[in-house]
């Protein structure tokens, strides 16, 4: 199998060509190791970081920005949004605090991306 894609690891946007099958892939067109990792990952198990918000009570504003601590499978983005829509946290929150453990059984936590004091 052969596929051309644009690497999204960073804003460089390298044009990759990924070729191979099973456990055997070669990536060309990348400028760094991240590009190779991304190319192979995209063919075998595409994943994305999910940045979104959850409801926060007792803070200056009503939404707390959060993200998955690591990439989660692309196919689970909408399920994760559903799960996160039910989460309500109380201020104060510090950047890096876990707001939801093991989102959608991925083994990956969702963490706060902003420090929000209680008001």
């Amino acid at each position: 199998m052969k596929k051309e894609m644009v690497c999204i690891s960073c804003p460089m946007g390298c044009h990759l060509t990924v070729e191979g099958e099973g456990d055997n892939w070669t990536v060309t067109g990348n400028s760094c190791k991240n590009g190779e990792r991304y190319g192979i990952q995209e063919m075998t198990d595409p994943r994305r970081i999910l940045p979104t918000t959850v409801v926060i009570k007792g803070a200056m504003i009503s939404r707390l920005p959060v993200k998955t601590a690591q990439e989660i499978p692309k196919g689970k983005l909408f399920d994760a949004m559903d799960e996160l829509s039910k989460v309500v946290v109380e201020a104060p929150v510090k950047v890096g605090d876990v707001v939801l453990k093991n989102v959608c059984d991925t083994g990956i936590d969702v963490i706060a991306t902003k420090t929000m004091p209680a008001v």
């Binding site: 960073c10 946007g13 940045p51 979104t52 504003i61 909408f78 950047v95 991306t113 902003k114």
Partner: protein
């Protein structure tokens, strides 16, 4: 009297203040009109910030948080909810910043140096003149972003986006994840103005069509948007009759460009470069007014916040040197955009202020491959910038060595897009 007043507490203002403090200037004040520091990054909850600065992918609030922490660690004073009305320069070179807030009322704050870091604002429906009514449901992409990400209000369910700048692309994904149906993104140009990675992860991932060479020719609906007319345009960007499609929607987001916010700069007599619509600056970000510096999106609109921080650190360094009386003011070189280049920043260079090189930032006018950007002084080529591809959406950072400039005493640096030599 303050040594340095920084107008705007976003990424540029924070980086400038932090650098000035590190250079040994203590008496600094940041003025911020919002209720918190961090500027626009607070609503940019997506990741992708900080790869250059921190070597990791941060979200906007995380990136801002790092700089806020640095400013707090250095105990740099700031005032929130403070609107700067005006700035003037007195005959003895003192700067007076007129500002207002609920606590202090009206203030006339004096400073030796001022750093302008007010950022930019979005072009609106009025700015691009779309025919039709003015119903509810037409938002700039950034306004919708603030409503959704900070206030918790969803701005619509059936969405069309005009403009494929990064904010438009990011909002296409954001609204899709929040349950809206984004019907398409229209772009009047034959190429996108956003980063390629955003096309992939914001549109392709969610099968959102990108209609290049298409624009919106009519907004239907009187109280609320009911539909928009999407029409193909020709090479002169004129709508082609017979190609109009009416797309029902309740929301139109506009991502049609950003304008540096320079009311205060203009009022103070800062010279504006009509190409960037921001102040003309030197290698250390000084404007034509001695002791008045400018950096970040108020100077020219950047694609990456990392470069904003880099530029603003130069402004902080420049302002610190000015306060201490160490800033050289003899301009040796000016920069100019030749064929294929839209604008160049900085506009002027004092070689004595450089460490070992100067970063010249520029935008090309159109997409090209098999080209290079050459830098000339007179007829002599002094440097070449290579890239696989040049696109207007991605600012080019062309580094010129101090040693190359020192071979000439003064002159004009002209940047030109030319075919790659075989």
């Amino acid at each position: 009297m303050y040594d340095i007043i920084v107008i705007g507490g976003g990424p540029a203002g924070l980086a400038a203040a932090v650098e000035a403090k590190k250079e040994g200037v203590d008496n600094i004040l940041i003025l911020e009109r919002d209720r918190e520091l961090g500027g626009i990054l607070n609503q940019c909850i997506h990741n992708g910030f900080g790869l250059h600065t921190f070597k990791e992918q941060l979200t906007g609030p995380e990136y801002a948080g790092r700089y806020i922490d640095m400013a707090m660690d250095l105990k740099i004073p700031y005032k929130l909810n403070t609107m700067v009305l005006d700035m003037e320069r007195k005959d003895d070179d003192t700067k007076v910043v007129h500002a207002i807030n609920e606590e202090d009322g009206y203030m006339a704050l004096e400073a030796k140096a001022v750093i302008l870091t007010m950022g930019c604002r979005e072009r609106t429906a009025g700015a691009i003149g779309i025919p039709g009514f003015r119903p509810a449901g037409v938002f700039t992409a950034g306004t919708a972003q603030r409503f959704i990400n900070m206030e918790g209000y969803m701005t619509g369910k059936e969405v069309v986006i005009l403009g494929s700048g990064d904010i438009g692309l990011i909002m296409a994904r954001r609204m899709t994840l929040e349950g809206a149906h984004v019907k398409c993104v229209c772009e009047i140009m034959p190429y996108s103005n956003g980063l390629t990675r955003n096309i992939v992860q914001c549109l392709d991932d969610f099968n959102i069509p990108l209609k290049l060479s298409h624009t919106i020719t009519f907004i239907h609906g009187k109280d609320r948007v009911e539909a928009v007319d999407v029409t193909q345009v020709d090479e002169n960007l004129k709508p082609i009759p017979g190609t109009t499609e009416t797309i029902p929607c309740d929301t139109l987001l506009l991502s049609v460009g950003l304008i540096p916010e320079n009311e205060i700069s203009r009022g103070a007599g800062v010279e504006i470069d009509r190409r960037t619509q921001g102040p003309s600056i030197s290698e250390l970000c000084e404007t034509n007014l001695p002791g008045v510096f400018a950096a970040g999106n108020v100077v020219h609109v950047h694609d990456l916040v990392d470069f904003v921080s880099q530029e603003a650190a130069l402004a902080g360094k420049g302002a610190a040197r000015y306060v201490k009386g160490h800033l050289e003011e003899d301009i040796n070189f000016t920069t100019v955009n030749g064929d294929g280049i839209g604008n160049v920043v900085p506009e002027k260079i004092t070689v004595a202020n450089l460490d070992d090189s100067v970063n010249c930032y520029m935008r090309v006018r159109k997409v090209s491959t098999d080209t290079v950007i050459n830098c000339y002084i007179g007829d002599e080529k002094i440097a070449t910038k290579k890239a696989r591809k040049f696109v207007p959406a991605e600012m080019v950072n062309f580094k010129i060595k101090k040693s190359d400039l020192e071979k000439y005493h003064d002159g004009e640096l002209k940047f030109v897009v030319e075919p790659k030599e075989a």
